[in-house]
């Protein structure tokens, strides 16, 4: 693995942990790195979001909160573009199909969704707080 891919290793794993609670293989990290490079024009983190991005990578809760808040603050931010690219990659992996398609209806699914929504306002508030402090508006 090149040094560059090593850099992506941490973020790829953090993003996948955020999206589907799974630790992805190194093949997928490579794929993520390759995709980021192919889509450099949308994924290059701007100076104003550099600090925010490092904070986001500290903990999945921060990543989650920042993603939620950026949806309103700057929906097409490179941070969200990176998360989006990982979501696209994960959706195309047979291993993770159950995170994207329902094969059996279970109460657990509904419960998880319910919890997501209960926590949503708190995450949104935390996200805005982090943006307020760490987003550099120059």
């Amino acid at each position: 693995m090149t040094e560059k891919v090593h850099i992506y290793d941490k973020e790829a794993k953090k993003i996948s942990a955020y999206l589907i609670n799974e630790n992805i293989s190194s093949d997928l990290v490579d794929l993520y790195a390759e995709c980021l490079i192919k889509k450099l024009e949308i994924t290059k983190i701007t100076d104003s979001e550099k600090t925010l991005w490092s904070i986001a990578l500290m903990h999945t809760l921060f990543l989650d909160s920042i993603d939620n808040a950026l949806r309103f603050y700057n929906s097409y931010s490179p941070i969200r573009a990176r998360i989006y690219i990982m979501a696209c990659i994960l959706e195309c992996q047979p291993t993770y199909i159950n995170y994207f398609l329902i094969e059996k209806k279970t109460i657990l699914d509904l419960l998880k969704l319910f919890i997501e929504f209960i926590l949503y306002p708190f995450k949104l508030a935390l996200g805005f707080f982090l943006i307020l402090i760490f987003h550099n508006n120059g």
Partner: protein
Amino acid sequence: MDELFDNIIIGSGLTGVHAAQTLVEANKKVLMLDVGYTNKKINESEVSNSFLDLRKNNTAQKDFILGKNLESIHWGDLKVGAQLTPSRQHIIKDVEKYLPIESSSFKPYQSLAAGGLGAAWGAGAYCLSSKELSKMGLNTSEIQDAYNTIEQRIGISGYIDDGSPYCNAALNHILPPVQMDNQSELIYNNYKTNIKSLNRNGIFLGRSNLAALTQDMGERKKLSYREMSFYDDHHASVYRSWMTLEELKKNKVFQYEPLTLVTHFKEFNDHIEVYAISTNSNKNIQFKCKRLILCPGVLGTTKILARSYQCFDRFPIMCNPYSYIPCLSLRRIGLPIEKNKTALSQLFLYHDPENTNVDVSVGAFYSYRSLMLFRLIKESPLGFRTSIALMRYLLSGISVLGLHHSEEGGPEKYLQLTKDNSPSGFKLKAEYIHTQNEIKSIAKRNKAIKSKLSKLGLIGLKTITPESGASIHYAGSLSNSQNEMSINENGQLIRSKNIFIADGSGFKFLPAKGLSLTLMANAHNVAKKIIEIDSK
């Protein structure tokens, strides 16, 4: 090339191939000039038995779904072609380079593919009513006859129900309808339950009329419900123009010249010279013919004609106002995924409040699944994690209603040739601005339809109106009969002796119903007229 050809056809889209087929069947010699980009894999891409199988088992599906160069990942404003899957991206290849359009209000689709836009069409096949046809300036009985010829060539499946007067009443050999999936069945049953109130409000629902086989037809096989129609052309079940092109190529009187971008022509007393650029070598090439038949699509025809006659005036253009409404069926959310279904539209909705069968708005319901969640989650107001969890849960209850409205054109809807430094040296400037009254009436129409979706068991989530051009139906640039840049009832350009137009450029009105069946029928009729003229 010094050879003098009898007939040159420009373009291999739905219009070009059907004009050619009629001529070839009458043993007329045809040379077809086309840029003709292909994706060979699309015909053989039996990547998987079904979309679900692909999703579950194919570890290399990323290239197929996202594209080798991530062509399906769009971020920010949607570009033309955003909804095309990677295997269909060739239909818009090099369009910006060779067919540039400058506009802030009009984003049309154009194609340089073998088969044109018809290489990706949704196969919705609508017969227009007599009133619509006469408003378009077409001969009703001739077009209705031609519908049957085209039907026999391409195979159309449908059903006799409330939708019939709007789409298939003129057809004689209709195949059994495409099977409905559970979501469509639910909507259809709700329609039947609430039929009186819906009809009173001008809403009619019918099973779709599709150029998709439900019975084998020669080498083409019936639809196998793999849910991959947006991705491949498995067994040629869904008709696409390249299929006719491949058949034509087997004929001795037909010659195909791909990688040829026609720029303009010059008409002489006894022949026409056609000028083109080879997209392979960038060299200029020249052809000679007795008769030229233009089928490069309405925008293509306008550009070639304007350039040939050095006409920098404004040409009118029509394109259907288009919106789409993602809908949710509460009864179906959280249900497990359904196997064997088709990605094609299974239900057509008609809004005809005056019961005229002219000013009708038309909707097609699409199930969303095979376009994947990644396109949806981007539109959700939530973060991606919550969006994935939510959309996954809602997926079986989601359908998208694509809504077209009819269009009559207007002074601020035009195309105009200007010089530039693209390979052909010219580009089209375009504007497409609706009047305030039109905007109001479209919004009213959308609202009326959305408010009745509850009677179909659906919640209309949001009405999304993309920029003009997105409807992918264009017409009318040569429809002003006061002008010598218009065409007569034979499809002949008024100012010329041997130039014929067989695409939608001459239509005087653009109905909301998908135009392609009428485009093919009209192209067949133009070719028939040419044969008649020859026989005199």
